[in-house]
Symmetry: C2
Subunit: 214 residues, 2 copies
């Protein structure tokens, strides 16, 4: 009876359960140590069914990367109201990033540690997501500078550098927050904003606050 | 005659030539595409000699990572005078980081892209270097805050977060600077300092400049 019920579950639902189990296993054990047996057991299905649906460990891992990259980008985008000021959008987006990575530590481990550690094919998948996020942040910094009528001529290349710095700092902080007991998403985003905000604001105002010592 | 001369070259010198060729090849082609034939030819030695000295492609790659990690850490440390104020040490160290990664783009590619993309063993090698740098930066931020008699009680965990943010931003900017034509080390470090310095200074002074919107 139970078996019949199980068989009737739509393929799409089953695949999501397999991906849930796979993200958890890859994120916790690492790509190499994760076994298809464990993933199948955690998903409550047979191993042949995992292979039937997802083909191979490589393809399963790729499917995990794609699903989790899309989920992270969607979480950031959905937190942002485009009718709010750009600097507020930037804050809402950063907060959404830290909340999402804190709530889905296995997914973040897959995206930021595992995917980059196990070959160029997987690394390319996450590089595409990162480029999308950097482009999005670049646009927000430009919009924030323009909306404030501050420095409409902030050089494009400088903005690109700022976006890289901000994204790099956020990635590093998310790793650290997830690896450090008791650090919340709110603390992580507050640390980053305290670190970055006054510098960003100054730059948007056209002030270079800092000059090299002689 | 030439052959005799070549044979007399000390092993240590030859190994360094092989590592020079390997770093260049791994950095430009990527770990997978790099061939031992090409490395031997570039080093001006036979392929069997490369295997005799460095054992395998994996061991050669590990030797590259270790040498380049040590060189990067040494470049940062040697740029710093411990009798100068800590904030000046931080700037000198950051500048040395960007100068070194700009002057050795293949080495930076090996450390920050290749080593992390090709397996846990290599990733662990660079993780150790990164931890050393984060610990060093953490110490400088604490010292800078103390020396300025600003906020001796800056919470340890917040400093650790700041060091992670700063190192993550620097790594990301170094990748970007090397991938973007015409960006100099000076521009990269100035972008980072403009981005980060006022926030860091405010935090060291015990001011949280930024507060979350309601």
């Amino acid at each position: 009876m139970g078996a019949v019920k199980t068989k009737r579950m739509p393929r799409a639902v089953r695949e999501q359960q397999m991906l849930d189990a796979a993200v958890r296993t890859f994120g916790r054990r690492g790509y190499m140590a994760a076994s298809m047996d464990e993933i199948a057991e955690l998903a409550g299905v047979s191993k042949p069914l995992v292979y039937l649906y997802l083909n191979s460990k490589d393809d399963l891992f790729t499917a995990c990367i794609r699903r989790e990259a899309a989920a992270l980008v969607a979480a950031i985008r959905s937190a942002i109201s485009t009718d709010l000021p750009a600097d507020r959008q930037l804050w809402d987006g950063l907060r959404a990033f830290f909340v999402h990575t804190a709530e889905h530590p296995d997914a973040w481990s897959v995206l930021h540690l595992q995917a980059r550690t196990h070959g160029e094919r997987f690394a390319r998948e996450v590089a595409a997501m990162r480029e999308e996020i950097v482009a999005f942040v670049t646009g927000l910094i430009v919009a924030a500078a323009r909306a404030a009528h501050r420095d409409p001529d902030l050089p494009e290349r400088e903005v690109a550098g700022l976006a890289e710095a901000l994204v790099g700092a956020a990635e590093s902080l998310a790793d650290w927050a997830n690896a450090t007991e008791g650090v919340t998403a709110r603390e992580a985003v507050t640390t980053l904003m305290n670190f970055a905000w006054s510098g960003l604001s100054n730059l948007m105002a056209g002030n270079r606050t800092w000059s090299a010592p002689e």
